[in-house]
């Protein structure tokens, strides 16, 4: 009996430990956890924002040990979709080195963009592919905002484009906590900078898509408690 209990305990902690090793994405709106469909206040513009959809690609995710210069590829392409809880965790293999630096691309690089159809996260039925013009939508962010002059106060950002000079791929590098590899995505920072009143629809590649992609990349931060 005690032995069984003892084993169960080991299993429990092992599982906990393993889970803690995976990369977890957490979503925030300033100080509050981000929940789809909930309204948040934007003090900067005395505005309110409700997010209905947030999905984005990360690719070529690598963990590095800065001292030994060891690097391990965690995954090629991963689609994070806030409406699907299981996509917020990126599994990571056991490493034989200390990992301090996490690097990845926000979006899909130009080589993958021009290489035809793929299965898995890049399957075009995932709704992250433009159809009238080839290219993945790197980031989809949709919702409503009191200040949006568009129909039903909507805002819609489909950010992408892989051609120069408007290649929207963003490189992200974060120093992470070894035991708790959490990544924070804080949309508060995005809406504090962008005035929805002026910009509420960006649906194609170009200057605006690039600027918003750069802005979106700044919402991604290491987790500090």
């Amino acid at each position: 009996m005690t032995r069984k209990f003892f084993h169960a305990c080991i299993l429990f902690f092992a599982a906990q430990w393993a889970m803690a090793q995976d990369l977890n994405f957490e979503f925030w709106f300033n100080d509050a956890p981000l929940v789809l469909g909930q309204t948040y206040y934007v003090p900067q513009f005395a505005d309110s924002v409700r997010i209905e959809k947030l999905a984005f690609y990360i690719s070529d995710v690598v963990l590095k040990d800065l001292e030994k210069q060891n690097a391990t590829k965690i995954t090629d392409v991963h689609l994070i979709d806030l409406s699907q809880q299981h996509t917020l965790v990126v599994e990571r293999p056991t490493l034989n080195h200390e990992a301090q630096l996490l690097t990845f691309n926000l979006g899909i690089d130009s080589t993958r963009q021009v290489s035809g159809v793929f299965s898995g996260p890049l399957d075009p039925t995932k709704g992250m592919y433009w159809t009238w013009q080839s290219g993945y939508i790197n980031t989809k962010l949709q919702g409503t905002s009191a200040s949006s002059s568009a129909r039903n106060h909507k805002f819609e950002f489909h950010l992408g484009g892989y051609r120069m000079p408007y290649n929207t791929l963003q490189h992200v590098a974060l120093l992470i906590n070894k035991k708790q590899p959490k990544i924070m995505v804080d949309l508060g920072a995005f809406f504090d900078t962008l005035s929805i009143n002026n910009t509420n629809h960006v649906m194609r590649p170009g200057k605006e898509a690039l600027a918003l992609s750069q802005l979106f990349a700044l919402t991604i931060k290491p987790y500090d408690e």
Partner: protein
């Protein structure tokens, strides 16, 4: 009959069928360049092409099951849209561009008049989801097809269990489209010493080489570059072509050089179908102002003004018609319907 002769008989039959399918899929004359999609053209199988062919002719790819790819790309028009200057889609809506012929796609790297599509796999998504063309989503189409035992079996045969997926759907269409190879025009027969040009055709070919070859490069009769033509922008369409893809001002009003194979089947001509005969096209080349700084300088040399020369040039262009291709029964509506 001995076991041995049965064995050799079967082996021969197998070799022949493998050989035939190999020739059928990737054979092209030795004066053709290496196709960009050579890998895919080598890998694709007869059943995969056949599956793609069924999809190409299937109106369930559209919202109300009324329009198939073939509605705008008819085999008898070298897969262009006959009689329509601008394409004609669902609910009788008119698009903004002329449907081009579909052949020798494996030699192209970018698709559509402006190259908006960067891979053949991804092309079908454009007409399927366009509100004026088929107005349907890939997910819905897969749903519709999955209720049909015929497709479930075909997808499984080609791609294995659970084969009916979006990526495989697109790959099958690509396989069929890559099989549309036009290499048997009279021009090809002459090049392969199987026939001879008339004196008029010889004169026409010389004119062509001098005036047109720089863009409509043999043997594909296109270099597939994006070029600023002398065509005036149609103010009802305001189509800026390549610019809309690259967003670079120098690409304004550039369109892809079309192949000149099968012209007798693909009229009307140009990205907006503004010309209905080859003579109109040649008159345009001869009459417009090629000195404009925004126009491709090679067009200065594309002027053939003499009436006899025009007739000779057209005589040569007509040798690029490939009736073997246009009347190939393997490309037509499969009998399943």
């Amino acid at each position: 009959m001995t076991n041995k002769s049965i064995f050799w008989g079967l082996l021969c039959a197998m070799m022949c069928s493998i050989g035939l399918s190999w020739i059928g899929l990737r054979h092209y004359p030795n004066y053709f360049p290496k196709p960009y999609y050579e890998g895919r053209m080598t890998d694709m199988s007869v059943p995969e092409i056949d599956l793609g062919r069924h999809l190409f002719y299937d109106p369930r790819l559209s919202r109300d099951n009324s329009i198939s790819c073939a509605s705008c790309h008819s085999p008898f028009n070298a897969f262009a849209h006959s009689d329509h200057d601008l394409s004609h889609g669902i609910d009788d809506q008119i698009g903004t561009r002329n449907a081009p012929g579909l052949f020798n796609l494996g030699w192209q790297t970018e698709f559509m008049w402006d190259g908006a599509i960067n891979h053949l796999d991804m092309q079908a998504l454009a007409p399927m989801t366009h509100p004026k063309e088929m107005d349907e989503s890939l997910t819905n189409v897969l749903q519709k097809l999955s209720t049909d035992a015929f497709y479930r079996k075909k997808f499984e045969n080609v791609y294995g269990p659970d084969g009916l997926t979006g990526p495989n759907f697109l790959r099958a269409l690509t396989a069929f489209e890559l099989s549309l190879i036009s290499t048997d025009a009279y021009y090809d027969k002459v090049t392969q010493n199987r026939a001879q040009f008339t004196k008029q055709q010889v004169r026409g070919q010389a004119l062509f080489t001098k005036h047109c070859q720089s863009c409509h490069t043999a043997p594909l009769f296109s270099n597939y570059e994006f070029v600023r033509h002398t065509l005036k922008i149609d103010s009802t369409l305001d189509d800026l072509g390549r610019f809309m893809v690259t967003l670079r001002s120098q690409d304004s009003a550039r369109f892809k050089v079309p192949s000149l194979r099968n012209l007798s089947f693909t009229a009307p001509y140009m990205h907006d179908g503004r010309f209905h005969s080859l003579r109109e096209v040649l008159n345009h080349y001869a009459q417009t102002d090629t000195a404009r700084p925004d126009v491709d300088p090679r067009l200065k040399k594309a002027v053939v003004a003499d009436a006899v020369d025009k007739t000779d040039l057209i005589a040569f262009l007509l040798t690029l018609n490939d009736t073997t291709f246009v009347f190939n029964p393997d490309h037509r509506l499969p009998y399943h319907y």
